[in-house]
Symmetry: C3
């Protein structure tokens, strides 16, 4: 069994951003030399998400509006977590979007359907945050 | 390490359906001959879900009503994604329900609690869509 | 490839509780002797969750309030599942929080960011329920 590990770093300009990281993940897979196995990609911070969906800007706007409806940022005082912090909403938004994805590796490629793309979802940005890529297989 | 891959296909009659696919997944596992490892099952389309819950029709009605409350289908114009499409709600519903499950394989069986069953959740159906089953182990 | 399996048991005093199980998972990993691989931890019951977030009591109160807003326990009659049961809301809450986590194992440790902790989320407690830990690797 081979294993591979890499950290990616992101420092967004806005509090919330969705970034297509599929090319970086494909680079990791190439670097690993693994042809058959499983790839785990997870946010290492608990106010960010890794998820798979569509690379379509209208949908990304819909996600922003929808997450603000389900777990609004303000007023900050509505959350007990916001004593010394202001990011309780980011913990909730990341919960909806998910911490991680597991992707099948087949013939050295991400085994994806036609529209699947991997996104980093930042919900409390403007600082350096990390994403883990771990691949096991042969 | 052994690995196994199979695609399942679904073409639902309705826009939204929940289908118990546990028997198909068990067939895949038998076919793989893998006794110890991990099984990944994921929707290959971004308006569908694979999730684990109860095989109880009342609960499935509750899911339908609940998802329509959290991410309503109509009016279509509430979503920017719905320029050429009408399925933005399906992307959101699948986000709540999840893209994938990872299941432990022990002694050649799905290592499940008493009520765990695997479901395909279709939120934009009436066309052929695929599900991936990938198993790694020994 | 090595594999390891263990069941953990929980019997909460309240209907809903969030329990930090990171130490138990670390014990499993030590016991497994696995240094490189993937760890799956999942609820074996469909009204409970395993998730990764912050070990901060204010945030846990926020989760309780938020989940009650998105999927309220009462009135029980709002859910079709509640014919012989009263736990439909627990199925929905667990869906939001997620069934499982997959964690990278690197150098014999949980490969975590600074604040990542693993929680058991019970949404229909006061009875004995199980959590599965499965590790594969070398």
């Amino acid at each position: 069994m081979k294993s591979y590990r890499k950290e990616l770093r992101f420092n967004t300009k806005k509090r919330r951003e969705l970034i297509n990281i599929t090319p970086e993940i494909e680079n990791c897979l190439d670097e690993s030399g693994i042809k058959e196995g499983l790839l785990l990609c997870n946010a290492m911070h608990i106010t960010a998400s890794i998820f798979i969906n569509d690379n379509e800007s209208g949908l990304h706007d819909d996600f922003e509006k929808w997450l603000e409806k389900l777990a609004p940022e303000k007023p900050y005082s509505q959350y007990k977590h916001n004593g010394f912090e202001d990011n309780a909403d980011a913990h909730l938004k990341r919960t909806i979007m998910g911490r991680e994805v597991v992707v099948a590796i087949t013939n050295g490629k991400l085994d994806f359907g036609p529209w699947e793309q991997i996104f980093y979802g930042e919900f409390d940005g403007k600082r350096s945050k990390r994403v883990l890529v771990k691949i096991i297989g042969e």
